[in-house]
């Protein structure tokens, strides 16, 4: 009995709840991200259908509103033949979607999801800086993908992607760092602890939240904001030559990027695990806080999804103009607002 108990403890403590594994693979990592992608895509289709005079996914399971439709779609992507055109550069063509997904999840390794020391994946002193830095890695592989595809539409899409990323990642980084200016700390645990009193940074500095929100919306290429793979002139942009599971990875990649940013927004601006105070113990100290953060992030994503039914697509130069002419000054203003609030001791 004791040996079995020990094996159980080892599996639970040292494997499942070993912070790097837990955060990369379970919550909020790969498995949670997959479930979130399934839910959010379903919600997006359903919300759009509500606005658009129709039912959305329904027929596969009418009682639960067709919620398992995405499982069917996923199966279809997984079983579809992967056609690799002769003209592509095969190795980067195959590897870049996979690396993109892995790198997209990497920022989750850097963020602490609880205030208890034993459950930090990495020392959290500079976690905000590291997470933001890691989040800028994966878009590079979209550019690589478009180059490896050797297709005119893909190249145009890749160029647009690089333009958009340069502009909007900068806004996202600056927006997140304005939180550091407010709290004088890069430590996400500190940032969340300050928000414990109900003074969420998103409420204190709504300009920064708005700027980050728009930046995430644009840089992760959700439906009406998918300037790099805008359907009506670029077919599918960087993903034009992809088929089957590789294409599915690309489609999921956008949602995973958005999910990671939503986790960061939830932690930095929306109080993280705020109303709840972690208590030592695996469930109470690690599982529940991570769940609270995930739910907050999910709500952020749902709001982003709703916007697809209201807005259309910006032109690439307009999107860049908005970024460089409006949002970057706005973000700098938010940074200044944060500094001022810190100086006058509002936080």
């Amino acid at each position: 009995m004791i040996t079995w108990y020990l094996v159980y403890r080892i599996i639970v403590d040292d494997i499942i709840f070993y912070p790097p594994i837990y955060q990369f693979l379970i919550i909020p990592g790969l498995i949670a991200a997959l479930l979130v992608a399934l839910f959010i895509i379903w919600f997006e289709r359903k919300a759009a259908a509500f606005v658009q005079m129709r039912y959305g996914p329904r027929e596969i399971a009418p009682r639960i509103g067709g919620a398992i439709q995405l499982v069917a779609d996923l199966t279809r992507y997984a079983l579809q033949e992967i056609i690799i055109p002769e003209t592509v550069d095969v190795l980067p063509y195959i590897l870049s979607p996979i690396i993109m997904i892995i790198l997209a999840l990497l920022p989750l390794e850097a963020v602490p999801l609880t205030s208890i020391r034993t459950y930090f994946p990495i020392p959290p002193d500079y976690s905000l800086l590291i997470a933001v830095a890691l989040s800028t890695l994966s878009p590079l592989f979209v550019v690589l993908m478009s180059w490896a595809s050797n297709n005119k539409f893909a190249v145009v899409g890749g160029i647009r992607e690089s333009f958009i990323i340069t502009a909007y990642e900068l806004i996202a980084v600056l927006g997140f760092l304005s939180a550091a200016a407010m709290t004088q700390s890069f430590n996400i645990v500190n940032i969340v602890n300050i928000q414990m009193s109900g003074k969420w940074l998103g409420l204190l500095n709504p300009i920064a939240l708005l700027a980050v929100f728009i930046a995430v919306l644009m840089s992760t290429s959700g439906f009406p904001f998918e300037i790099p793979d805008s359907e009506s002139e670029l077919v599918a942009g960087p993903y034009t030559e992809y088929t089957g599971l590789l294409y599915g990875l690309n489609m999921g990649g956008g949602y995973i990027k958005r999910w990671v940013f939503s986790i960061l927004i939830a932690l930095v601006f929306l109080g993280g695990w705020a109303p709840y105070k972690p208590v030592p113990g695996i469930i109470t100290g690690y599982f529940i806080p991570s769940l609270i953060v995930s739910i907050k992030a999910l709500i952020v994503m749902a709001i982003m999804s709703f916007l697809r039914s209201v807005y259309g697509r910006y032109r690439v130069d307009q999107a860049l103009g908005i970024a460089w002419e409006i949002l970057i000054p706005l973000t700098l203003a938010a940074f200044g607002l944060g500094l001022a609030e810190a100086y006058f001791g509002i936080i």
């Binding site: 759009a48 606005v51 658009q52 005079m53 129709r54 005119k152 539409f153 145009v156 439906f223 009406p224 998918e226 300037i227 805008s230 359907e231 009506s232 002139e233 077919v235 697809r308 039914s309 209201v310 807005y311 259309g312 697509r313 910006y314 032109r315 690439v316 130069d317 307009q318």
Partner: protein
Amino acid sequence: MESSTSGSVVPHLPGMEVSELSKNTYEVYIGPAHPGSGHMRIIVEVDGDIMVRVDPDIGFVHRTMEKLAEGRDWIKNIPLFERMAILDACNITLPYVEAVEKLLGTEPPERARYLRTLLCEINRIASHLYGMGIFGVFLGHSTLYMWAFGDREVFIDLAEQMSGARLTHSYPVFGGVRRDIPDDFPEGARKATRYMRNRLNEYAKIFLNNPNIRSRLENVGVMSKNLATELGIVGPNLRASGVRYDVRLNEPYEAYGELEFEIPVFEEGDSLARAWARVEEIRQSLNIIDKVVDWLEKHPRENFMHEKFWKTAPKLYKDVYTGQIDYAGKYRVKLMPLFASLKVPPGKAFARVEAGRGEMVYYVESDGKDVPYRVRVVSPSFRNVIAFKYLMPGHRLMDLPAIYGSFDYFPPEWDR
């Protein structure tokens, strides 16, 4: 042949057009199998993100309509020509019917003229909504797409009540129309028009006044008055450039001369003006529908077929018309058997109407046989497509769908 031997010069083969590209540009082929092209190809030469040369390449859905018409009896051409643009079926076939009526020397009775006007306006609304829906999805605005197609269903339903078919009505025939409106039609039509007026305000809120969409359309693809007249653009696109030209205004046909309505003319000539022109036209069409329905209600349901075809009708035909036969429906005009082998007196006739996308022209020539000698069709989309070549260069590649969609170009209509 000498040129082919030298290395730098491109060989010239017969039937092949070769043009050298400058160094910094490359060609993008948008279509014919492309999500944003329709049944056509647009060859775009791009310098960075700016379009340098745009070449609309048409003919992918050519069906030899004009030649087919020469081998068919006169009446059989009506369902054939509908296939050019089934979403605008009555407007597309009406000028053919009018031209043949001119050859036959018949004039449709007054009620038939009003009924034709009614279906033409219903079709115009349905056609504009279709165009706006496609325009919406070109700009990534899926809500407008679904809304426009959903609301189009209202008018397709109206058309179905009138004619018995959702799209291919085959409604006008020589000398009149095939059916009268059912008894409960005026009530439904009034409700539908009231509903659509409210919806147009909502369209404006979510699409046309949405800052996102406005910035895509404003000052994009500006067509000046001069350019529009030089290129021979027709329809709402022409009126969006400030030219006061509409067949309903310049040469009123059917009941348009007796109805009071406005023809919206916009001055800007950009994509936004073209979109607004369609919205305002829908609004005017709703007014026309209301007026025509009032007129139809006031006036008795007398014959709506020309007496030439109706006076010899046996009693059964009148029974069908008044609904005496239970399985046969009501208010239907029976066609006389002579329609099947109608011989049209020799001559040439020309007729035009304002279809949803612009001026639709038919030239019909008869040599006295039971098939036409020649039918020439000039469709509005054919006259609009040339504008792409002159409007798009200088814009960014992402403006291509914004300009393409604003023209409401419909490939099967040109390709005939």
